[in-house]
Symmetry: C2
Subunit: 415 residues, 2 copies
Amino acid sequence: MKCELISVGDELLIGQTINTNASWLGEQLNNLGFTIAHGLVISDQKKDIVNALNQAENRSDIVLITGGLGPTNDDITKHTLTEYFNTTLELDKEIEQNIIDYFTNRNLPILQTNKDQALIPKACQVLPNSRGSASGMWFEKNGVIFISLPGVPYEMKGIMNDHVFTKLLALKGEGSVVINRTVRTHGMGESFLAEVIKSWENNLLKDDLKLAYLPSPGIVKLRISIIGKDKASSEEKLNYYVSELVKLIPDQIYGYGNASMEGVVGELLKENNRTLSTAESCTGGNVSKMLTSISGSSSFFNGSIVSYSNQSKSELLDVNEQNIEKYGAVSQQVVEQMAANVRLKFNSDFGISTSGIAGPSGGTTEKPVGTVWIAVANKDKVVSKKLNLGYNRERNIHVSSLSVLNLLRLELLKN
Amino acid sequence: MKCELISVGDELLIGQTINTNASWLGEQLNNLGFTIAHGLVISDQKKDIVNALNQAENRSDIVLITGGLGPTNDDITKHTLTEYFNTTLELDKEIEQNIIDYFTNRNLPILQTNKDQALIPKACQVLPNSRGSASGMWFEKNGVIFISLPGVPYEMKGIMNDHVFTKLLALKGEGSVVINRTVRTHGMGESFLAEVIKSWENNLLKDDLKLAYLPSPGIVKLRISIIGKDKASSEEKLNYYVSELVKLIPDQIYGYGNASMEGVVGELLKENNRTLSTAESCTGGNVSKMLTSISGSSSFFNGSIVSYSNQSKSELLDVNEQNIEKYGAVSQQVVEQMAANVRLKFNSDFGISTSGIAGPSGGTTEKPVGTVWIAVANKDKVVSKKLNLGYNRERNIHVSSLSVLNLLRLELLKN
């Protein structure tokens, strides 16, 4: 089935807002097997909206219109649609009450223009918006579906997830629910990971689930999707495949959905009543910055010493000067001492450390740019690991930070 | 004059790539006084491209087409345009040589498909691309201008800046060159800044220059644009207004163009042969992370102590425990001691420090969330400043980091 996207708004045409709504809708619809043949951006003008609707009606099966549903005078999409579908506006009492509740709960004054958002075209099916005051609308004309959605991305996505995807799939006759789960992995490159989970992936595809690899530096997200007849059995099937995946790559999976590595590590520390301090050389404070981005991190994080010079490694972290001379600052000996000593300096349960050549300069034949040592220490032992990363400084800092947090995560799970 | 943007590429329709080209073009053209009435995204298919061109020809004066100019089989924009304008392809020897040089200089193998990019439609004016192998093309038909550009943002922007804007302005008859300058400021909110530079702005507008305020957390960028008859006199005029602006807000301007605060501070430290260390509480390592994101920062940055607990403030930074008890960790006394002592700990010329309540929890009536103290110490003195920020943790960390680096910048300029 052919989809067409119409984005209404002057702010999109003059580049004040980047049209991420169209990208998101395109990606989601493509994943569900719909074809997206046209994307239009037009201004908040009746004539342009009507032209776009006429054109879309002649060449597409499903037309998604975003934007222009706000309460102000320049928002004319709803009125234009009312005219286009030759219908009238009618007050929807339930929606009016929802809008009043929405404003009252937030202690906001409610204006007549806000209440007017409960005026809905008679000819449409309402797509309720639980995140804002502009309702989504579903129209049908000559076998073509027209879906009007608010332009606020959070509200638009909410309505799509709550109502629209399921309805569209029903139209396609391919079941009625769609469920996605994102599994977050670290420590294995995309192609290596694909090799390891190959037979699992084949079974999954045979079972009519879908898999997308979403790689970013240091992280490969696996998005598993299922389109099924009912929610319970689809979820059961999805859970089965996720649990089989966990068996294959237990150390690599650090979280699900929107979880962050630092968030997962923070939760584990809190649950186990453990504290942490960090000694950073090549990551330059980035690990500390990630951990303290979490509100309430002072309950598990004591602090960090960023020892960017050799002098500070020996003076502030008591690293043996002879070790630095003999093995170099980027070595197992030094990074292990850093982790063990920063634990003691801050009286923490765990100490973690990084030392490496972030680049682009500073590499040697023996230790090229991207050589990084990481370590985790507790009162009983120190574990360490060597990473061989690439040439990009920003990426090396980011991936080293993720890696040392993952090493700590694995140690925390052993306790 | 009415502009229309046509973006060609399946990757845009399925959301693999976000259409930032259209946003950038829309913003630039709007700044120059053109109207952008339509934006289209279509797939790499001849039929769709021809339909889009036909439609655009009937309603717009200037049509900008991006994408589909690469060397592979799915790139069909050039062939479609050749047919549309009823012309033929011809080898352009100069462009062929440029392409050969481009690949030879980069030690890359050159294929016939690369050389074929020197085949140019006879009916067009070439817009040379010094950043890649796909040339831009300028066509005219029935008084409408069609401009075809590569989809790679860096190449597309290069061709626009090198050739197209000036040609478009000449068409409009409003002079022939356009020059932009971006002035980066910190430390004054947008509306306050607008008040301070009001009469300067009025003069600037009267003199036919344009001004845009581009605010982001902790930073307001001012983009000044001039459209003039010739380059030398336009630059002179622009320089005059920039120098007048510097007189009004000397402490707030930290750089121009794409300069970052940490980059500017790093350069000043290097120029003056000075070293730095940081003591961070509420910024949690972010200042250190910003400084070490600069390649070669080890020449001026010695390291950092992130003292997230009170214990670490006294034990690792020798902050007087009685001061912490009497004034609290978020106080002038403590932050000044942190700066002075971290300077000594790392044997640096400068020590800088932060201590505050980043939020969202931890605030009191006396010291609400967003209360932050920052300090800068050298061998002679310590200066400090209190910030009253807002409720967003991420923003508070970011703005505090910028503020302490700016305070250091002002001290460095005094030396």
